[in-house]
Amino acid sequence: MTDSIGTPATEVVLCPGGPALIRSDVAVVDVIVAEGQSVARRPVVALCRCGRTGRAPWCDGTHKLAGGPTAKTLPTRKDEP
């Protein structure tokens, strides 16, 4: 859906190794999940994409705990083997 000047009214940003950010200037985001529905209360929301969140459908940062295929790590210290 776009407005008259071609700007999307709803934008989805896929964060590598993380959630999908959803921002909409039409209405608050309303997500239907198995247990019912969950209405966002903030201007931009993050939807879980790893399936491990404790706050479905929202991201709660859990994707960071186990790393993941796209997670980057610091190089080891110079004094470490």
Partner: protein
């Protein structure tokens, strides 16, 4: 709030200047310059007298003091003193973060990947949130809340000063993040109002500045670092890197702290501030790291090194705060804390 009590000669002379006028200005200037010149590396982060003095000066740009004329904020005597005190503070932050910044810069990826890798790999200091979830006594939790009140009761305010220094998408996303911090325009839902509720539920004073006299040096330094970064245009990259690291180390610890507040019997109203931050900061970390810092570096407005300096400073100061709290808890039995003035 009233000016805090002095913690040494510097804050004593500064108090006198702000309350009484300029009689001892030469002595204050000499004391500040002498302290700055002779301060060993890193010790600025642990110097109560210096940190409290800086905190008092910065606070003139936020809510001020009931017993101080607001005109002191832009008085040349105070601006000059601020510059003298900021120099060893900034240098100490750079010294404490260089190795972390270098390691983060070596991560193959964009600055957001580097911030997330730094936050995940940073291993200084004890894990305070795990301790609060599992072991802390109610008095230790209240001690933690008193220290955190120094920043959380003005949460997000420093970063608002950065908005006019950014342009385009980075500015739009910082405003978006701040709007959420300020409750989406709903009075009563500002994050610092949610923290005030937490304080009241823990039978603590939610008045701004109520516990400033108890704030330890790392707590003052953490608040001061945000003011330093956010009140200087040249440090806007560090300000946004600090924000990104703060948000990237928030969701999971907040979930643990909320569990700790429930475990120690403070109730759901007390835990709400932390509960709100589990979801909020899972959004904010992406906004800050990718859409704010990522854009700023991609467009050449700031460097990745600027951003990572601020990010590492946030983590180092957080570790110093955690270390100080845990050390105090090891030295002092919970019963002694209960008897200490609130």
């Amino acid at each position: 709030m009233l000016l805090p009590r002095a913690r040494g000669p510097l804050s004593g002379l500064l108090r006198h200047l702000l309350l009484e006028g300029t009689e001892e200005l030469a002595e204050l200037d000499a004391t500040a310059r002498g302290r700055a010149a002779t301060m060993p590396a890193l010790s600025a982060l642990d110097d109560e007298d210096l940190q409290l003095s800086l905190w008092m000066i910065y606070e003139l740009s936020f809510r001020g003091f009931d017993d101080v004329d607001d005109r002191w904020e832009s008085a040349p005597e105070v601006a000059g003193l601020r510059a003298v005190l900021e120099r060893p503070f900034e240098q100490a932050l750079r010294d404490a973060t260089t190795s972390w910044t270098e390691r983060a810069l070596a991560v193959d990826g964009d600055v957001a990947d580097q911030v997330f890798a730094l936050a995940a790999g940073f291993d200084e200091g004890p894990d305070l949130s795990k301790f609060i979830r599992k072991e802390a006594t109610p008095d230790q939790v209240r001690h933690f809340l008193r220290q955190r009140s120094v920043y959380h009761l003005k949460e997000a305010d420093p970063h608002t000063f950065v908005i006019p220094r950014l342009t385009g998408p980075a500015k739009a996303h910082l405003v978006e993040l701040q709007y959420d911090e300020y409750g989406g325009g709903r009075s009563g839902f500002l994050h610092h109002e949610l923290f005030a509720t937490t304080l009241r539920q823990a039978a603590l004073d939610d008045t701004w500045g109520a516990y400033i006299d108890d704030a330890d040096a790392p707590t003052l330094a953490s608040s001061n670092a945000m003011s330093l970064f956010c009140l200087h245009r040249r440090l806007r990259g560090a300000a946004m890197g600090h924000l990104a690291a703060f948000e990237a180390t928030s969701s999971i610890p907040c979930r643990r702290i909320a569990a700790g507040l429930l475990r120690t019997g403070f109730g759901e109203d007390a835990a709400r501030y932390y509960d709100e931050h589990v979801e909020a900061d899972a959004v904010h970390e992406q906004l800050a790291a990718r859409e704010i810092c990522g854009t700023l570096v991609r467009t050449g407005d700031v460097t990745a090194r600027d951003v990572l300096f601020g990010a590492a400073a946030c983590l180092v100061l957080d570790a110093l705060q955690a270390t100080a709290l845990m050390a105090q808890w090891e030295d002092t039995g919970a019963s002694d804390l209960a008897e200490a003035p609130l």
